[in-house]
Amino acid sequence: MKLNDEEQEILAGTYGPVGVKALQHQLKVGEFFGAEDFVPVTQAHVMADTESLGEAGVRWLEEFAAASEDGGRVRVPTITDPRGTDFAKAAFLGHTPAMLDLERRAISAFVKLGVTMTDTCINYQTIQAPTRNEHVAYGDTGVVIYANSVCGARSNFEGGPSALAAGLTGRTPRYGFHLPAHRRATLHVGVDFVPASLNEWGALGATIGRIAGNYWAVPAVEGIEEAPRSDQLKHFGAAMASFGSVALFHLAGLTPEAGRLSDVAPAGLPSHRVTRADIDALRSCYRSDGRVDVVVFSAPQLSLFELRDLAALCEGRRFAVPLLAATSPQVKPDCDRMGYTARIEDAGGTVLSGMCFYQSYAREIAQANGWKRLATNSVKLVNILGGYGYHPILASMEECVDAAITGRLA
C-alpha cells in the first residue's frame, strides 16, 4: 500500500507505539483486500462487548491503553457499540461479578484511549448521522448498512480491533465500500407489497439478505413507493446485514444514491421477486410451540418512538413472564422523562440502557434465568439466538406484549 508522509511517520512511531500497532493491523487487512492506499475517516464506532472480547481481548485493550501513555489517543471521534451489561440491572439479568469486572476493565481501557462511551448501535439516530460520501469506520453491521444505504456514507464492516485502529490513526484502508465501483448494485429485487410492522420490515430485509448472500452483493430494491421511517429501515437493514452479511442496499427513488434505478443498477442484473409469501415463509421458521419464557425488544436498540409505542401497549397491563426492552444511554433519559419507562416497568417489564440482548452473555443469561423460548419482533435477534441455545419466536410488537401477559403465543 502507498503510504503518505503522515502514515510513514505513524509507522515510524512519531505518534507513539499505539499508532504503530494500529497501522500495522490496518496494513494487513488492506493488503489482503488489495487496497492501494488509506482514506481519512471522520468517525469510528467500536463494537467491543466483553462476551466477544473475553479476557484476551480485554488484555489486548489494556496493553493499548498502557502504551497510550506514551502517546496514542484516538485522533477522530470514536464511539462505542452497546456494552455487555447494564450495571443497574446486572443482578436481575444474572450477570456475574466476573463479567462485570471484565466490563469495568474494558471501559477503563477505552477511556484511557480517549474513546467516547456512547454504548449504542443506533448512533445514526442518537449521536450524529454521517452525511453522503463521508468516509467513516463503523462497527456493528446494522450501523454500517444504515450509514451506507440511508445516509450515503462510506464504510466497510469494521470489527472492533479495526474500528479502534481507525480511531487511533484517523484513517482506514481504501477498499470495498469506500470505492464507488463497489457501490453499484449487483442484483435487482422487485417487491410487490409494503411491509406493515417492524418485524415484517425485518423479514423483508432478511429475505433479500438471503438472496444476496454475501458481503460484496448490493441489492437494488424496487417497488417500495413511499418513504419508509427510520425505524423501519433500521430493522430492514439490520436483518439484511444479519442474514446476508450485506453492507449496502439501494431503494429506487428513495435512498440517496438511487434517485433513479439506473443511477446504481446497470441493465441486465440478475433479478428476483420477493412476495408476501416469502416473508411468511421466513416467519414460519420462527414459530411458537405455545409457551413463551421471555419477551425481548432489542437488536437494534429501540428508538424513543419504538419505546413510546411499547409503553402504550404496556399501559395498565400485568406481565406473567419477563419483558425486556433495550435502548441507548442517549434515549433512556428521554424514555424516563416522558413516562415510558414507568409504563413499561409498572407492567412488570424492564428497560435496559447501553446494552443489547445478544451482546450481553445471552447463553449465560438463559442458563441463569431458565429462559429458552424467547419472543421478539427483531428478525436480527431470532437469527442470532438459535446458536445460543434459544428457541427464538418472531412476532409483532403487539403479539409479543400479549405473550408477556399470558406466557403463551399461538
Partner: protein, 138 residues
Amino acid sequence: MTGVAKIFRARQAMGDIVRGMALVARDGFSARYDLDRVRGIFSRPDHKLAGQSYIGRVLVLDTAKGGVASAWMLNEMTSRGVIPLALVFNSVNPILVQGAALAGLPMLAGFDEDITAAVPHGSEVEVNPCGRALTVLR
C-alpha cells in the same frame, strides 16, 4: 485422491502454512452465530457442521456471515486453544479478515471454482498463504 495432490489457487491470503483435516460445507460462517466457543463445536442447529468439533480443523466454507463479533472472537478463541487451524472461503467479508489478522489465523479466499465442492470433506489439506494455494494431500 491417490498419488497426485490437487492444488487450488486463492486470490487473497494471510498467515502461515498449516496442514490439517478439512471440515467442508456449503454453509456460511460466523463465530457468534454458529459456534459454541466454550465446547469448540458448531452449535447452530441448521448448520451442516452442527455438533462437529472445529478445533484444529481447516474450515472450508462458502462465505462469512453475521456480525462483527468474529473480529474479536477469533483472538479470544486462540487464547484458549479452541480455534480452527485455518479458514478457507469462496468469498470473505472484512470482519473475518480483521479477526484473522488479530488472531494470527491463516486464511485463503477467492477461488476460480466453488472450493466447498472441490475439496472432499475430511481430506488432509495444506493451507499455504505465501503461495496462495490450498493443496488436497489425501
